[in-house]
Amino acid sequence: MAKPSDSRRRQYWLRFAGVALAYVVFGKLGISLSVAEGIVTPVWAPSGLALAALLIFGRSLWPAVALGAFLTNATSGAAPLVAAAIACGNTLEPVIAAQLLRKTGFRIDLARMRDVFLLVFLGAGVSTLLSATNGIAILFLAGLDRSALASDWLLWWFGDAVGILMVTPLLLLAYVHRVGRPTRARSLEAVLLGSTLSLVTALVFLGGAWQYPYLIFPPLLWAALRFHQLGAATGSFVVGVLGTWGTVVGTLPLEASTATTRVQLIQALLVVLAISLLVVGATLEERETALRSAEQTAARLSEAQALTHIGSWEWDLTTDAVTWSDELYRIFGLPAATAVSSAEFLSHVLPEDRARIEETVQRARLDRQPFSLEYGFAVGVRTRIVHSRGRVIAVDGSDSPRLVGTAQDVSEQRQAETLRADILSIVSHELRTPLASILNLAVTLRQKGNELNEPRARRMLDNVVNEARRIDRLLSNLLEIDRLRHGVVAAMREPTDVTQLLRQVADVHRIGDRPIAIEAEPMLATVDGPKIERIVDNLLLNAVKHTPAGTPIVLRVQPKANDLLIIVDDDGPGIPQEHRTAIFEIFDRGPKAMSNASGAGIGLALVGRLAALHGGQAWVETSPSGGASMRVLIPNCVESEELDELPMAGVTAHETHENAKDSPTYRNSAHSSR
């Protein structure tokens, strides 16, 4: 296994070799052209290559540039010392350019206008001065050619600049876009565009159609418009290569003294073209970035509004134009983007809140103070409670103000607050009754204890104890139901002798002359014993509490296929149909619906929750004597042997077993028992 540092080193040397080799190849190509004057050539791609390499891979690659420059010059007729001196300038040029660009915050994707200008001025314009000056100075000192110093300097500088403008953008953008697969359609378009551009450019510069140079503009604009900077750079490069080639081979009848000057003329055109295209590309990129960022901002705002259920609105008081955010349409329950006026808005506001809104707006208009208010908003049968904040924005101090603000859906909070208040009132009611009993019994016993006959005093003391236990049970129920509501309780299922359990619970309630009959056979069920005990305890307590002393209560347990059915029948007044669901759901739906079913309270709510914890349910029917018949069904907990006698028994038993294994409660209990 290669260590990371090893692989990094190998990567460096690979890059090193690649850059040095490419430098030599492109350098020799430039020098070998007929337009070159010795080693001074108007086509100097290596400077573009070197700058791109240092910008992409970092300046640590400078030795590759130095080596490439030295080899190129040394093998092209320059003495080793001269070649080395020139290579110094060739190396310093991209190193300084890269450094300058990095310092000025240049980005290699050329996506901003400033990147383009930085590359043109610092990269192509300034750093190349150094290389050209150094090169010509060395050549002068070496005494090679002293006839045309100025034009040679210009040739050198211009060659380097063109190299950077033609090659560097292409390499940078190719590197930036090296990842990411384009779609089929886009690839096809790129191929089509490339062929068209190449063909038209070749026709103009090589095929003799030089009278029509403007033919190359449509495909170049196509490239920049559709592919932005990558298209601009590639297009410039293609035109640059073919244009230079055409000039070199002499298919262009340009009026100029030398071939070198002709090449310089055509390259001046190419440079202007390249810069123009890059500027167009950058403009498009910047526009797209701005659009994307605006879209993202809008999306983020919308997301934030959806998360917090806060919408925003604007109301022009002069034109009565109302603008809502998407979330506000959702909050109000109206189809998105329907036009609204203040009158329509008010028509949905609950009538009792309308005057308050109008008043608030009027006042805000006058005193220009921020305001907040709450109102009901109804669409059809759906009503939401909305909390709105707003303020007045005066346009240039004129008298045509706008109101802007937010609106939050607080329906759930308000409902929760109401429910909490209701629960508190129920709990206090349920606590107060036994406390009242204890207080009155205890005070009476203290005051009149000696005068009372023995059985009565005894019964009063018993009731003090009973009522104290009732308060204790009430508090336990309350804590249990709170834990259940927060989902921190799991059913710890174990094989339990249910009948034995029920007998024990019934014994506790069989006080005084309270007959509690039990109809059950010995039965084993996989349930959470203490929770089943709690269910039965609360059912019996409810029956005892709401039926006259002496009337019978029947506790029945039946296996129903693999389910366990617990029934408590009483002889009381029964429960009216309309309260039958509500009594088990008091903590879910609030007690408003069951104000007359007083005393059902939290005991039955807990029964419902505990049944649900076992995957079962609780409900009420009418007992044979017309009283209440409270029923709790716990599914998939009985493994009955009698099932063997039923048809398909084997399949049923098997399936149920599997179901039990898959049911969440089963898994939960298995998990929590580990």
Binding site: S425, S428, H429, R432, T433, P434, L435, A436, S437, L439, N440, L441, V443, T444, Q447, K448, E451, L452, R456, R459, M460, N463, N466, E467, R470, V544, K545, H546, T547, P548, A549, P573, P576, N596, A597, S598, G599
Partner: protein, 121 residues
Amino acid sequence: MVRIVIADDDETYLESLRDVLEAQSGLTVIGAARDGVEAIELTEELHPDALVIDAHMRQLDGVAAIARLRRDHPALCLIALTGDPAPPLHHAARDAGADAVFLKGEFLGTLFARLAAVKHG
């Protein structure tokens, strides 16, 4: 002896109320009802001097029973008990014709005095 009928849907409370009232000299409980309908029936049947009734019951609410009994028995002493300290229920019981409304959570000393005074008043 002041003869009293009591009514409450809470069995244990009903029993303790009976014992507490009977422990007072001069008071006797002649009937106990578990709901409003039974309270009216017992009152018609036993003609008590006073009725002490829970204002909040199922099967004909205490307040409704009070209104009905006040209509038929203008002279009967009607006393409402409630576990709810909220004023609306108290007002409702009074408006229905209750002579007094007592809070369950307090010691019922004033209730005893009030009942004891029935014969004289």
